[in-house]
Symmetry: C3
Subunit: 308 residues, 3 copies
C-alpha cells in the first residue's frame, strides 16, 4: 500500500502519481480542520522545526498553521539573523542538532541542493520548503490541489503557464507534475525567458502535450487553467524592455473577455503587477484560495509523514 510515513519530500519528481493522489485525497479530509470548523489532536506532542535560511511568510506561516491545527508544536527561525549559522556552523551540523529537537523539519534555503543535503544528514524526515533555483514540492502539491478543487480535476485540462518559464522553479516543478496527468500544457513567455529545452524534452518523454506560444491571447483561448508567475525586473538588462514585456503579459479584465466561463486563474504569490487588482473580484480569480489550500495540503503531508 502507498505510504509516506517517515519519507522526505525533496522534489515533486520523487513522488509517484499514486503518492500525489494520496496527498490530495488526505488534504480533502483535512479541509474542515484547516477551515477551523473541526479540531484535531492527531499530532499532539509532535514538533515541527521550520528552518528558514531565507524569508518566506507564506510557506512558513501555512506550515505553522498546519502543525498547530493538528495539535502539534512549532520551533524554528525565520531568518538566519540570530542563529548559530552566523557563527560559521555548517548546514549539516545545524541539521544534526535540530533533528534532536524535532520530529520533522521544513527547510528553506537560498542554495539549490540544500534540502537534499539536509535529508541525507537527518534521521528525521525533511520537507523542502524551497531551495533556491531548485524545488518547492509543497507549492506544486497545493497547485495541483487547487486544480482538483477549483477546476474540477487535473486530467483532460488545458493549462497555460505564463511568465518567467526560464528561471521560475514553481513552473518547472508544476510542469513535471502535470506531465503525470493527461493534460495539455501551453507555455507563454517572453522569448528571453522561455522554458528550457531539456525540460520540454523531459515533459514530452513523460507523455505530455506541450505547446509554446508568444501570444497570451491565443494561448488562453479554450484554456481551463491560467497559471501566472512573476517576471522579475532583474532579468532584463534594459528596463524599457522589461516594461514592454511585463505590460504585454499582464492579466486584466480586457484579456479575460474571450476566455472560457470556467477558466481559473492561479498565482503562487506574492504578485506585484502581473494581475490587475480588479481581476480579484471575478469568478476566475483563485489565487487567494490557492494560497489557503497550502494549509490542508501541508496538514496532509505532515500527517502522512508523521502518522502514516
Amino acid at each position: 500500500m502507498t505510504s509516506l510515513k517517515g519519507r522526505d519530500i525533496i522534489s515533486i519528481r520523487d513522488l509517484s502519481k499514486e503518492e500525489i493522489e494520496l496527498i490530495l485525497s488526505e488534504a480533502d479530509k483535512m479541509l474542515p480542520i484547516a477551515e477551523g470548523r473541526e479540531t484535531s489532536e492527531i499530532l499532539r506532542g509532535k514538533i515541527l522545526a521550520t528552518l528558514f535560511f531565507e524569508p518566506s511568510t507564506r510557506t512558513r506561516l501555512s506550515f505553522e498553521t498546519a502543525m498547530l491545527r493538528l495539535g502539534g508544536g512549532v520551533i524554528g527561525f525565520s531568518t538566519t539573523e540570530g542563529t548559530s549559522v552566523m557563527k560559521g556552523e555548517s548546514l549539516s551540523d545545524t541539521i544534526k542538532v535540530v533533528e534532536g529537537y524535532a520530529d520533522v523539519i521544513v527547510i528553506r534555503h537560498p542554495y539549490e541542493g540544500s534540502a537534499k543535503l539536509a535529508a541525507e544528514v537527518s534521521a528525521k524526515p525533511v520537507i523542502n520548503g524551497g531551495d533556491g533555483a531548485g524545488q518547492h514540492p509543497t507549492q506544486t502539491l497545493l497547485d495541483l490541489y487547487t486544480m482538483k478543487r477549483e477546476a474540477g480535476g487535473i486530467d483532460d485540462k488545458i493549462i497555460v503557464l505564463l511568465g518567467d518559464l526560464k528561471y521560475g522553479r514553481t513552473v518547472h516543478s508544476l510542469s513535471y507534475a502535470l506531465a503525470l496527468f493527461n493534460t495539455e500544457i501551453r507555455l507563454v513567455s517572453p522569448p528571453s525567458l522561455k522554458m528550457p529545452e531539456e525540460i520540454i524534452r523531459d515533459l514530452k518523454e513523460l507523455g505530455a502535450k506541450v505547446k509554446e506560444y508568444t501570444s497570451l491571447k491565443e494561448a488562453i483561448r479554450g484554456a481551463d487553467i491560467l497559471y501566472v508567475t512573476r517576471i522579475q525586473k532583474e532579468r532584463f538588462p534594459d528596463p524599457t524592455e522589461y516594461i514592454k514585456v511585463a505590460g504585454s503579459y499582464r492579466i486584466d479584465l480586457t484579456i479575460l473577455r474571450d476566455v472560457k466561463e470556467s477558466l481559473i486563474i492561479m498565482h503562487p504569490l506574492p504578485r506585484v503587477d502581473e494581475i490587475a487588482p480588479d481581476v480579484d473580484k471575478t469568478k476566475h480569480a483563485k489565487y487567494f484560495i490557492q494560497s489557503f489550500y497550502g494549509v490542508p495540503v501541508r496538514m496532509a503531508i505532515l500527517k502522512l509523514i508523521l502518522v502514516g
Copy 2:
C-alpha cells in the same frame, strides 16, 4: 444582547459603553487563567496571526500569552524582515493570504488607517494592535480595566493625563473612552504639546468635564488617577527646552507628597525617565500590573470575538 462575535476592533470609538463593560467584565473571569492559577481550552484549535509590521514586545507577547493560555495557537511575524512585504506585496494581498491561515488577526503597522484597511479586506476579524498615529484600542481597554481594578472603578474619578497630549495616540483614545464615563479629565502638558482643540471639543460634546493645566502640582491635587506618558525628545527642536520640560513633568517622591492616599499612577510603558525608579516601590505605582492586565483583557477580547 451585546455581542462581539466576529467583530473587528479597530478604534475604541467603535465600541459602545455597554460593549466596553462587557469586555471588562469578561476580563474579570479571565483573571485566574491569566495568572496561571486555572487553565482553559476554550480556544483549542483556533489560530491567532500576529502581523507586526512594526516592533512591539508588549502588545505582541501579551496577545500571544492570551491566546496560548486559552489553548489556541499563534503564527506571525515580529518585523517585516523576512516577510513577503519585502518582495513588494501589498498590505491587502498579505491580509487576504493570512486570513486563510488564521481565525483572527492582530495587526500593528506604522501607517494610520492600516488596521481599518485590513479589516475591510479580511473576512476574519481584525484587531488593531496600534497603527501609527492612529488607534490602539486594546491599550485603552487595558487602561480602563486597570482603573476598574486598581482605582475601584471609572465613574466619578478625577483623572490626570500627563505628557505629550498632542501626538500621543494612547491619551487620545483613552480620553474618548473616559468621556463615556462620568469622569473629570485634567490635561497637563508643555504648551507646545497640548491636547488638540478638536479633541477637547469632542470630549466636551460627549459630556466630559475637561480642564487644562500647565502645573502638574496643581493638577494632581485630589486626583484619583495619574496617567503618565512619554515626552519624546524628537518633539523639541531645542534640546535644552526638552530637558527643562521633561524635568518639570517628572514623577518622583517629592511630587507625590501631597497626593491622595489612594492615587494610582499608570503608564503605558516603556518608560524612559518620566517616572523615577524609586516610585516603583510606592503603593501608588500600578504601571506593571497595568501591563499585566493586558493579558486578561486580550483574553476577553479574543474569547468574545471567536466564541461569543
Copy 3:
C-alpha cells in the same frame, strides 16, 4: 527533601550535588518524551518566555521544544530587533513586564550579571540561558547528563578539557560542577589561554584533582571524556599564531589512535574546525547526542521549577 520548585537557576554553583542529581534523574524520566515516543501534558497552560537579547539557536530551540513537549506554550524574542529594548527600556522594566505574561523566564544576554539582575527583579523563576562571560548552567547540566548517559557516570572519570580555558564560560562552569564529583580534570590549552589561576585554586579547594597539560596527546592517554571547545581567532593578535595553535589542538582520526576504546568526545557546539568531520562517524563522537540531551535536561528543569 530536595526541591527546586520556584527556584531561579542562575549559576551552576548555586546548585548542590544533590540538586544536580535530582535534575539528572528527572531527565531520565523525561527521555521518552524528549524522543517523541511518549507525550505529556504536565505543563499544560503554563507559559515560558524566552528573552534572547543575544542570538542562540541551540539554547532557544531546545528550551522551546522542552516546553512544547510537556504541553506548555512559548512566547519571546530571538533578537532585540523589534523589542522595546530598542526604545530605551531598562532590563529591569522589561523583566517586570514579562513576568506578568509568563510562568518562567529564560534569559540570554550579552552582559555578565544580567540573569542575576533579572532574577532579583522577577517574582517568577528565571533561568540563565547564558550571560556573556558569565554562567550558562543548563549547558553544564546537559554536559553532566551526557557524561552520565554516555560515559556511564561522572564519578571516577578522567576528563580532559581542551581549548580556550581562559575565556570559555562553558569550561569554567563545567569544571566547578565536576569538582563536586570524584573526577580527575586535565586541562589542555595554548599557554596564552590557560585556565585562570583562581579557578584552579577553587577547584583544588573543592577537592578536585587538577592537572595542566600543553600536549593533547599526553593528556588524552587513559582519559574517559574529552571535552573540546572552540579557540576563537580573535584571541590571537597574530593570525599565524592562531593557525599553529588551532592545528595542534584539532581532533582527527590520527590523534584518536591511542585513546581508550570507551573515550567519549563532547563539544558544546557550534564547532568550526576543532573536530574533523570524519570523527563524527566514530563511536567516540557524542556531541550531537549531547546537544539532544539539552531537551530532556531542560524539560527536567522546567518541570522541577514549575511543578516540583
